[in-house]
Amino acid sequence: MPTMSLLRVQGLNKAYGAIRATESVSFEVRPGEIYGLLGPNGAGKTTTISMISGLLKPDAGEVFVDGVAFWSDPRRAKRIMGVVPQELAIYEELSGRENLEFWGRMAGLSRQEARARTTELLEALSLADRAADAVKTYSGGMKRRINLGCALLHRPQLLLLDEPTVGIDPQARLNILEFIRKLRGSGTAILYTTHYLEEAETLCQRIGIIDKGRLLAEGTLSELQERLGGDRVFVLEADFTATKPDSWDDFHQRFRIIQKADHQLVVAAVGKRDPAECLKELLGLPVRVENVMLKRPSLNDVFLQLTGRDLRE
């Protein structure tokens, strides 16, 4: 029997005038799972998180937190979840400890509880030695960690993380990702939005790909790779300006084009086929192939196949 989801999002719609920010977005997050919402800037990730956290009211659709519709009891839902906004929503004049204690009190902890939990979190976030310093003196990575910590004081069962590693150096990012893994280990359900492919690939158990407000695909990494016809794609380098793949006989029956450029063609085999046989067919194409590479399909390839454009564009 599948575990009951802690967060279930059903057909969320939101429009700002003529612009549709999200369109029928549906997914669910289970306890102890990190669900990645992957998409480029402006895809609708923040809007989705804002609707889940109650900052925005959806035009249509419903959010269920621990089985209860959010808007039927927002207070209960807010007690269960912790939200880490993309921007640093902290007081720079206050120290790290003061920030954490304040948000702990806001989350309903007593003074003693907030103090004890703050000490615990400062240790966990490796900020204990700078706890008394004003946040404005912190590095970008440290500020991000405090921003994350402020949502954890009340031990939320569901954590919404909106691009928590934006704008920080790789080392600081690794620290935060490691901390999030530990949180997952403690059973917290995490919704993690990002536009970094590597983060989604390495951190998330399931991934939803969102673009232009629509959830295009979701599943585990291997399930998404499966959509491309297996765990391999072929990268052909040749001059495709003179001859077009569309004009080749049976090509579309045998291969699915993932990306097409003047000098590069990325394709996946249709169906389960022997890679050696595929390679032979590709070398037999009516074009002078300069190089062929075989690689595991990345999330970017999935995104490319779904949207026709690179996630990094």
């Binding site: 912790g82 939200v83 004049e93 206050l94 009190r105």
Partner: protein, 431 residues
Amino acid sequence: MLGVLLAKDLRRARRNPLPWLINIIVPLAMTALIGLVFGRSNDETLGRIRFAVVDEDRSALADLLRGSANQQSGAKYLEPMFLEREEALRLINANEISAVLIIPTNFMRNYLMGSEAVGLELIKNPAESVHPAVLEELLGALVTALNAISRNFAGEFPEVRRIVDEGTSPHELALLAERVGNKLSAAKAFVNPPLISYEKNRSNQTQEDSQTKTGKGGTPAKSKNSNAASLFAFLLIGLCAMFLLFLANNAMTDLHREIRIRTFERYQTLHDQLWPFILSKVVFAVVVLSLGAAIMLGGGGLIFGIGWRQPVPLMVLTFGYTCFVAAFFAVTVALVPDERRAGVLNNIAGMALGLAGGCAFPARQLPVFLRDHVTPWLPSFWYVQAARDVQFGNGDAKWGLATFELGITAAILIGLAAVLFRNKFRSGVRP
């Protein structure tokens, strides 16, 4: 929760005191500046005006003018020095006197003959602003009076001139006085009641009288409610009301900041009700505004020698007003969360509320439509009206009602701000 929110703001203010210090320093500076310009001298009025009179005519009329400056009210406010022209000019150049009044040769003769234009010369000290202006006004009044006499008693002037030149018998002098008296009696119906009258405030006068009577050592006690102080009390209340609007606008920019740094949004992820957050901002602003008001009213009172008749009702009333102005600007923040755009709107709104509320000018002098249909609905008017009534004698019952109305309005505005914010955020407006 309110305590936690306030403690947080207090810590922030301690770490970054400049914006809040400005709110305290500005009223201090304003009060000090006004005090320097209009402040009292030792006798708690505008001070005695030192000026020189150069009498080059040495006639009876010139003696009369000289004498009038030394008599009764004139002696109270004026300090004339009778000097030669050179000495008078030396003193004004040395910035020791406010002005020089020159009575030219043949002033009386020409005035009584009416044959040619008569002039008095006033040289003002350019380094001073108020005292020379007061002297100029007084001289204007004197000239108007002399003109009026000249027009109405031109028929008697030849005889007066003869009496002055040659001397006369008491009988002729009595006949002349009788004729002048008859003319005045005939004009009485047109002169009395006068078109413009001046009446001293009765309660102040009574208080003043009693203080004067109880003064020790035969010298009059200090008049705490002198006319000048009354005028300044009237002005200071309006000025304070205007200034609190400006300070509240400043103080509530912290709410803009909370929106900008997304902490207000973060608060919403934890709480469904927004009013506690807004209330905490209003309370913090009210504390700062109360300090500002205390500086303005207390400091201003000291500088101008104003004795606040009922300090406690005035304080309570002012507290109610600070609640209103802070809540008012919480609403304007909710209406226009963008700080730059809100700055313009808030300045206009504050200015309009102050001017239309009778803070800068007496409400009865406002345009009729405004005065009759707008001003009575403005809380700024409730405040200045009630505060002036408290100070000038007939507001014993009104201040309580006005405070209650201001408090209720503030509560409604806080609720309104919370609703506006909630709607704005839920519809996705992110400044």
